[in-house]
């Protein structure tokens, strides 16, 4: 795939933003600066970036409970997302959703869904809406290999294939479903193999190679946009943190983090960009500086923002 240098640099910047946002969020959570639970995607930056950079700004995504990277890659403003993590009124969801339900309809980010697989029919419905309206949009629904065992995933894939809906089912196989290794729950070697059962293509890609993810997703998006229906993409990667921050990870396969760190998606893209002369030490420093300033601003914005008034809890129950 011939990707223009500017786009590769933009993806490099985004992957760094996601990595550094997640590490910062992890620290802030550890220090008790915001409530709830967070599920970070450290290690999965190529997967979410490659997926979202194959989309148009007006395309839809449906994030999961591990949705920070997915949402950043689709353009959610980092400061409003951070404010949402803090439960502030200036958050993307006005403080009503938190980390697991990130939403920004202007960026095509349908609400994050924290019940495994439940967001996929919503993504398929948004795709059907686009098809009926003839606006050329597609929808991409994120899920994991753990969610692939949910019944709703099966129902949605059957419906989407049956009606040729312009949707991409994007499975981030990050090796662990909550607190178990994938081998504990899946008989098949690849989730993509299941696509055959629905009459749609299924592909497995190296989820730590952003260009491979971009290529596969672009192909699937092109197929969807031209009316040929859904595709199942399995992006094989690994989450380097626990299921949630603070997870003791007693279930972890010994040594796997070291193995996966050798395949670090950001280092791999960086090496390629350096070799091709798209990036050098100086421009790298510029990118990292920008990213760090963005995150510092996001934290400051979130901390300075007011909380919603408690009684605002009563609003928005009904339209």
């Amino acid at each position: 795939m011939n990707v223009p240098p500017e786009k590769m640099l933009a993806m490099y910047r985004m992957m760094n933003l996601i990595r550094r946002f997640e590490l910062r969020a992890s620290e802030l959570f550890r220090d008790g600066r915001f409530p709830g639970w967070i599920h970070v995607c450290v290690g999965q930056e190529a997967s979410v970036t490659g997926a979202c950079f194959a989309l148009r700004p007006d395309d839809y995504i449906c994030p999961t409970h591990r949705g920070h990277g997915q949402s950043l890659a689709k353009g959610i403003p980092p400061e409003r997302m951070m404010a949402e993590l803090f439960g502030k009124k200036t958050g993307t969801n006005l403080g009503r959703g938190g980390s697991m339900h990130l939403c920004d309809m202007e960026k095509g980010i349908l609400c994050g869904v924290a019940i495994l697989g439940d967001g996929l029919p919503m993504a398929a419905g948004a795709a059907m809406s686009a098809k009926l309206a003839g606006n050329g949009r597609v929808a991409l629904g994120f899920f994991g290999e753990g969610a692939s065992n949910e019944g709703i995933v099966h129902e949605t894939m059957n419906l989407a294939a049956l009606w040729d809906l312009p949707v991409v089912f994007f499975c981030e196989s990050n090796q662990y479903a909550e607190l178990s290794h994938r081998s504990a729950h899946l008989k098949v070697d690849t989730v993509a193999a299941r696509a055959a059962g629905y009459g749609m293509p299924g592909v497995t890609v190296d989820g730590n190679d952003v260009l491979e993810v971009l290529q596969a997703t672009s192909d699937a998006v092109g197929r969807a946009r031209s009316g040929k229906g859904p595709t199942l993409i399995e992006s094989v990667t690994c989450r380097l943190h626990g299921h949630y921050e603070g997870d003791p990870q007693v279930y972890r396969v010994p040594g796997d983090i070291d193995e996966w760190r050798k395949k670090d998606p950001i280092a791999r893209l960086e090496e390629k960009l350096m070799k091709e002369g798209v990036l050098d030490a100086k421009s790298k420093e510029t990118v990292i500086g920008e990213v760090d300033r963005t995150i510092a601003f996001a934290v400051e914005f979130a901390e300075k923002s007011p909380y919603p008034a408690p009684e605002e809890a009563l609003e928005l129950v009904y339209a």
Binding site: Y60, G91, T92, N93, L94, G95, R96, G97, H101, C103, D104, M105, L110, C111, V113, I115, D118, L120, P121, M122, A123, A124, G125, A126, A127, M128, S129, A130, L132, A133, A139, G151, I152, E155, T156, N158, L159, L162, W163, L316, V317, Y318, A319
Partner: protein, 327 residues
């Protein structure tokens, strides 16, 4: 005024609204062609509105309810048929965790989530334990959902039209026993508002608040009691959520006695909720403890004698009113 049947009132309300609003789409199992679903409620719909507005779905309730949520969030107004209310449980995760919460947890985006789920409830048709339940309380418990249970053709047509214009998820519960019931329905345009209860019969000695078809059975019971000089007021909430507390409370303040009647089971049912509302708001007006009439606490049996024993009929309602009048 002309009379039409319950099923016809549904069809009229639906097709009038689909003519009025091109954003309305219809989904149902076997909804296509000449079939129109297991109760033929959508018969002819696809012929009139075409395959881009009327969909014959696979047996996949959770899937197509979820799909409808995505459509509703992006500008369409889907109507979903879940043929039997028992099957709403297959999709309850999508209804309760997605439809009821999407707007709220996203901070009000999307601005509307117009989704109508209509379903057939109730027993008396010898359909057994998995095709006879009345599960309204499961949904009335959830903030973000509206639940209506029209008891006659007029209210069905009018409230269905309101539901189709509402910007929230609405569960429309219809009782199978009254599909063929005839009732007066005006020719022209009219709607029945959601969230408002109706006094179906005025009386002075006791108030019956009844749900769905039990309104009709209670009216028969009231006529029988009238022969003995007992005057019963009957309130039909129609909307079970949000519940019109004022109309119910006003009636009980007048009569001082409350009997609730529904086909769902008693524990945690609408009768318990309505009783609690009355206790909270007009305890001082009560002259007797509340009486709850409901199905006996067993799954619905198949054999006719056993099913008839299970479901409240006129004698059980009459007995309930006598009991509330004792003290």
């Amino acid at each position: 005024m002309r009379e039409i049947k319950f099923w016809r009132a549904f069809q009229e309300g639906l097709s009038e609204e689909m003519r009025r609003d091109p954003a309305i789409l219809y989904f149902g199992e076997d909804a296509g062609g000449n079939v129109g679903g297991p109760f033929a409620l959508a018969k002819g719909l696809q012929d009139e509105f075409g395959e881009k507005r009327v969909y014959d779905t696979p047996d996949s309730e959770a899937g197509y309810v979820g799909l409808a949520i995505g459509l509703a969030a992006t500008g369409y107004r889907p109507v979903v048929d879940i043929s039997f209310m028992d099957f709403t449980l297959v999709a309850i995760d999508q209804i309760v965790n997605m439809a009821a919460k999407l707007r709220y947890m996203s901070g009000g985006a999307p601005k509307a989530l117009p989704l109508v789920i209509h379903t057939m409830a109730g027993g008396g048709r010898r359909a057994g334990a998995q095709h006879s339940q009345s599960l309204e309380a499961w949904f009335a418990h959830i903030p973000g959902l509206k639940v209506i249970a029209p008891s006659n053709p007029h209210d069905l047509k009018g409230a269905l039209k309101s539901a189709l214009r509402d910007d929230n998820p609405v569960i429309v519960m219809k009782h199978k026993a009254i599909l063929g019931m005839k009732g007066e329905v005006p020719e022209g345009e009219f709607t029945v508002p959601l969230g408002k209860a109706f006094v179906k019969r005025e009386g002075t000695d006791a108030t019956i608040v009844a749900v769905s078809h039990m309104v009709n059975v209670s009216l028969q019971a009231a006529a029988k009691l009238q022969e003995e000089g007992i005057s019963v007021e009957i309130v039909d909430p129609l909307s079970l959520s949000p519940l019109d507390r004022e109309t119910i409370v006003a009636s009980v303040r007048k009569t001082g006695r409350l009997v609730t009647v529904h086909e769902a089971w008693s524990p945690c049912g609408m009768g318990a909720e309505i009783g609690a509302v009355v206790f909270e708001e007009c305890f001082d007006f009560l002259q007797a403890p509340l009486v709850r009439v409901a199905s006996s606490f067993n799954p619905f049996p198949y054999s006719p004698g056993m099913e008839d024993f299970t479901i409240p009929g006129v004698p059980r309602i009459v007995e309930g009113v006598r009991k509330v009048l004792e003290s």
